[in-house]
Amino acid sequence: MGGEATKSISKEELWGGGQSPFSVSYGKMMMWYFLVSDALTFGGLLTAYGFVRASSPDAWPIGEQVFRSLPGLNGEYPLIYVALMTFILIVSSVTMVLAVESGHRNDKSGVVKWLGLTVIGGIIFLGSQAWEWSHFIHGSGGSYLLAENVTVTADDGQVFVMNKGDAIYMDHHFGHLAEPWMEGSPIITLEDSDHGVKLVQTGEHNHEAELHSLTVNKYIENESHVSGDEAMKLWNARSESFCFGANMHDNEYAVQQSYANFFFFITGFHGFHVFSGVVINIIIFFMAYRGVFERRKHYEMVEKIGLYWHFVDLVWVFVFTFFYLI
């Protein structure tokens, strides 16, 4: 693809002035410099993440247990959604390479087609990220912290010694009513039921959710479910400290707020790059469509935005490994 770059030119001629010793144009050179500096920013962020994680005395959440939902489906699909997002971004990177390649052959319709597909891929990725953020912020069922030490036997027979301050996780149905109940909603009351307790919502809609089971160690180890009288022991030992999903002050996934903060900042900063990439791609798409580059007789602009777009993909490969996998 290099053209001039692969031609052999003597050192004296190359550095003798009057031409770029790198055989690239000013714009492309500056795009590379920008990418180096941007990559340093992301490198710094991921290093900070690793540092905070390594120096944390409490267990760090496991990626495949935090991120295991798919839109519109019940059940557990560890990392499948994130893998899908990765795949979408890789594919949109491929369509971008093909757009650049078409540009090198001055094939306008090819550039327009592949660049259009790249824009679509970028938009799908952004939509996926929006769903993931929304899911992360709303959480699954919420948690509360224990006010005292409790020893319980889980359904699988394991005995857990839970300490004051440990997080206990509610299921989706119970947590859904527990959130407004904790916030003091007047239409929701806690009542005794045949097997324990239930939350009852009266008013326009009648709902009730019984406390069937609670989960311990949900995100930090292999989770275990506790039900029946043992679950009531955990429920009765609850403190006032409830947490649903994640925000800037609280999160149900980890003791460390830095976990949620790094999630928001790293994936948010990356998502902002994707967003600006999509906007620039759209501009270049219309310029290509209107024949600006055809009149210019070269498609180097596509190559420059292509570098940026591949960089976004490159960063995601690292975020995927260090935030989700490890």
Binding site: M1, G2, G3, E4, A5, G18, Q19, S20, P21, F22, S23, V24, S25, Y26, K28, M29, W32, V36, A39, L40, G43, G44, T47, G50, F51, A54, S55, I62, G63, P78, L79, I80, A83, I90, V91, S93, V94, M96, V97, L98, E101, S102, H104, R105, N222, H298, Y299, E300, L307, H310, F311, D313, L314, V317, F318, F320, T321, Y324, L325, I326
Partner: protein
């Protein structure tokens, strides 16, 4: 006065045109790299699902293979998709050397000095 500090031939883009046959070869290579990247991602996800985090030797091996696979993917993206591999060697060095130097130094300083305030340098392991 005529300026002599400007690079006269700035339009290197015009030099990188290629023919239909060259294009076909490049496209073939692109699809090959796509297949490799997809395969590596699938392997990573499967490893993540099968192996659970633990304090064992196996897990630390898994962890390092994640890092290595990621670096392999990164190399393919940078060298083929961003076609840095086809650029002049001095451009390659100008892009890669400062980055590796600074990130290497940052990692070194985080690992070697960063835990001093905790008074326990074994925490990392």
């Amino acid at each position: 006065m005529e300026r002599d500090d400007l690079i006269v031939n700035d339009s290197y883009a015009l030099n990188s045109h290629h023919s239909e046959t060259e294009g076909a070869a490049i496209r073939k290579n692109v699809w090959k790299v796509t297949a490799i990247l997809t395969f590596l991602t699938t392997v990573e996800v499967l490893m993540g699902i099968v192996f659970k985090r633990s304090e064992t030797f196996t897990w630390s091996m898994i962890k390092w293979s994640f890092v290595i696979l990621t670096l392999v993917k990164a190399a393919y993206i940078v060298l083929v998709f961003m076609h840095l591999g086809d650029e002049r060697p001095n451009l390659k060095k100008v892009v890669l050397a400062p980055y590796m130097l600074f990130i290497g130094y940052l990692l070194f300083i985080a690992i070697s000095e960063g835990f001093g305030h905790l008074g326990n340098s074994t925490l990392l392991y």
